[in-house]
Amino acid sequence: MAFSSVRSSTLLGVQGKAVDVEIHVGMGLPGFTIVGQPDEACRESRDRVRAALLSCGLPWPNRRITVNLATSVHERKGGAGLDVAIAIGLLIVQDILPNEIAERYAFIAELGLDGTLRPVAGVVPLVAAIDDRIVVVANECEREARIAARDEVVCAQTLAHLVKCLTGEAAWIPAPTRTSIIIAPPIVDMKDVRGQSAARQALEIAAAGAHHLLFVGPPGAGKSMLAQRISGILPVLTDEEAVATTIVHSAAQVSLPQTGIITLPPFRAPHHSTSLVAMVGGGTSTMRPGEISLATNGVLFLDELGEFAPTVLDALRQPLEDGVVRLARAKSSITMPARFLLIAATNPCPCGEGMPGVCVCDDSAKKRYLRRFSGPLLDRFDLRVAVSRPHVDELLADTPAESSAAIAKRVLHVREMAMLRSGCLNSSLSADMLDTFAPLTVAAAALLRHHLERGRLSGRGYHRIRRVARTIADLQSANNRNIDNSVDRVDEAHVATALALRVGVHPQLNGDKL
């Protein structure tokens, strides 16, 4: 037989694409060529496959070999995951394996020189791309692979073992029995946070309505401490969200938890030296997902917001609005999920104190510092809270504060209420939906009007305040356990709270009423 076609898949962004590895062996000078836009790792597979075949005592055809990587789209194919597919194809053309195998199985693994099957990055999306065949993966990837296709996954140890399994001479490695699913509880709890009642409540509102949150405060005030505790008060992911999040993490080669599937909302805290590509994704020919995609369905925490490169921060604006990031390159364009809750922390000025009367920064230094956050980015934070160092009495108080579990209950309640009412979380309410689901009382409307007239609120800010006020009203009714008659109107108190939790970051120089 001179021709065979074996199914495998390659990765682009967070999406796997099925690839048919076509192999032709014919007359001519012995040689090996791969066509169909392979990348460097792919081209090197010639040497790996040859060594693996010889190591396992299998023959290498001394004829002219052509490998073609066929997909529906013309894109560069990357990764070493095609190795086993090429090896199996070579065995089929030499009639060592029957041709039916190619119709029943697909292969996703790299080969070692001794013939072992090695794991590859992004097994979840790679396996998900294949729907009509049993997928063979390396033993180490078995757990990940089962997330995408529960039963149609088998594993082998080496190429020799794989050949025996395929011909029925040996048994596949049995799937390990898993008794229980361990969910490690988050180690950090809200009860460790002393004082800071405004900041705590802001965090709760942010979690309940998925509102973006900015902490402004001096060093040592506990901004990072608070932010890290948000994972503990967010609800666990739904099955759908869990799979979507796991796929992104798998594609980016981020280690997955013991259970294989990510069930807790991810918390990503990239350092402020993070580059643009690392933040939004792209870079290699396979378009690795960036931090914003990894934070999908979870939290992106940017500590020291002012130290990030302005281009990196401004790149967040579009994903913040759309919930996806669209990357276009000369040869491909892809869309990756990026629906995350943004929490950021910054000092108010270079000296860090910020408090009028205590701060020693001169005006120009302050202005230069604040110029790093663009207005449009600041406007996207629904909540902007000044955090101050807790008072000594509070720090040393014996009574612990409310625990994460208690807050999480309220947060879950509000989220469920919002989904029931409007089908989305409060932060994604559109302008018309706000009028339907968050009508204002007369007093509340008057208060907002006052702030709009004095130029303290932008149009975008107006809607954001109303969304936050909706969440505050929901939280209040959750607190009163009035599940049946939830507050249906947003009143003045809720709007005032939303306004108090959204302070201006720039020092106010003209607010004095003369």
Partner: protein, 365 residues
């Protein structure tokens, strides 16, 4: 313009001719004689023509030691400026004069104090002397601007700001009069030049170099009868002005602040040393010998008196800026109620949010 004035202006721009030497020369002879005396060092005809052009472009006037219009206030000064460049009217110096100075990095409460004090004093016909710097200086003159504006409006615009009985604005700046610094005060700069008196000892085109500011402060101090420091760090330009004022036996008064606020460290230090405190315009009027309590029984505050609960909240914020967190800690009330009260107080103008910190404006209720 007078030929002698242009000569004096040109002389002040000669590089190695110090203020002291020039002022000694001009005290005994006219600028044209002084030019002859200088010989080769004297400015050439070209430079004189350029100076004349600059003065005309900037609508500046010149006065020098020995000229008939040179302010008598400065004539006996220990470090009198040899040549004064000014825009506006020197007769403004005939009014009673109070200097208001302070830090550039002022709190909202400090700016409020500066503008209100200046407003009240100006209404009583007292001129306000300041340096047109950022912060306190600028807000003091904004207070004067408002007082003049209200006064002309109350006369249906029939009188100009110059005829108003209100005190005028006197500004002493460090750069040349054609170099506006800081840029954001350009409007105010123009206002003072047109309605009050804008003075500098630097020839036109002089950049605002750092060493000129302490020098400017001595003229500022010399032109005051009473100097009020609103807010100042322990070391700073205002404290230099205070030293210059004390050297000239001019009364220095200070506005007290929280002992924890760095921005009031300088004023609190002055109070410790025995300066009289200023809480409102009456204190300054008494120091000027213009006790007017019978004329104006009470300074009118247009803000509505807050409710008892809100007054309680204000009492927790008195003294220094607080964050919402600290306020909740002090009042032990819940977030929603506090936010509501803050919203009310802010719309009435009792409190203001300054980059996340809440401050009380004025003396309160």
């Amino acid at each position: 313009m007078n030929e002698e004035c242009i000569f004096a202006a040109a002389l002040s721009a000669v590089p190695r001719l110090g203020t002291r030497r020039l002022s000694a020369m001009l005290a005994v002879q006219s600028p044209s004689k002084a030019m002859e005396m200088l010989g080769r060092e004297a400015p050439g005809t070209q430079e004189i023509a350029a100076m004349k052009q600059k003065l005309e472009d900037g609508e500046m006037s010149v006065s020098y030691v020995g000229a008939h219009d040179y302010p008598a206030l400065l004539l006996d000064d220990v470090a009198r400026p040899s040549v004064l460049f000014y825009r506006g009217d020197l007769s403004v110096l005939q009014q009673r004069r109070v200097g208001i100075v302070g830090t550039r990095a002022a709190t909202a409460a400090g700016r409020y104090m500066a503008s209100h004090l200046a407003y009240d004093l100006s209404e009583q016909g007292v001129a306000i002397v300041s340096g047109l710097a950022r912060g306190i200086d600028a807000w003091a003159h904004k207070g004067v601007l408002l007082a003049l504006d209200r006064d002309t409006k109350s006369h249906d615009g029939k009188i100009s700001a110059r005829d108003s009985h209100c005190g005028q604005a006197i500004a002493i700046v460090a750069s040349g009069l054609d170099v506006t610094y800081p840029k954001e005060n350009a409007e105010l700069w123009k206002f003072v030049a047109e309605h009050g008196l804008l003075v500098s000892e630097s020839p036109p085109g002089t950049m605002p170099e750092a060493f000129r500011f302490p020098l400017r402060n001595r003229i500022l101090a010399a032109l005051c009868e009473v100097l009020v420091v609103i807010e100042s760090h322990a070391k700073g330009g205002s404290m230099i002005t205070v030293e210059e004022a004390q050297r000239r036996d001019i009364t220095v008064m200070a506005v007290p602040g929280s002992p924890r606020a760095l921005s009031s460290a300088g004023t609190n230090l002055l109070l410790q040393q025995g300066c009289a405190p200023v809480v409102d315009a009456t204190d300054v009027m008494v120091a000027l010998g213009l006790d007017n309590r019978r004329n104006h029984p009470q300074v009118f505050d247009s803000r509505r008196t807050p409710s008892v609960q809100d007054q309680e909240l204000i009492s927790h914020m008195r003294g220094e800026a607080v964050t919402l967190d600290q306020l909740l800690m002090r009042t032990r009330t819940d977030l929603v109620q506090t936010a509501l009260a803050l919203g009310r107080l802010e719309s009435e103008g009792w409190v203001v949010n300054n980059a996340g910190w809440w401050e009380v404006l004025g003396r309160g209720c």
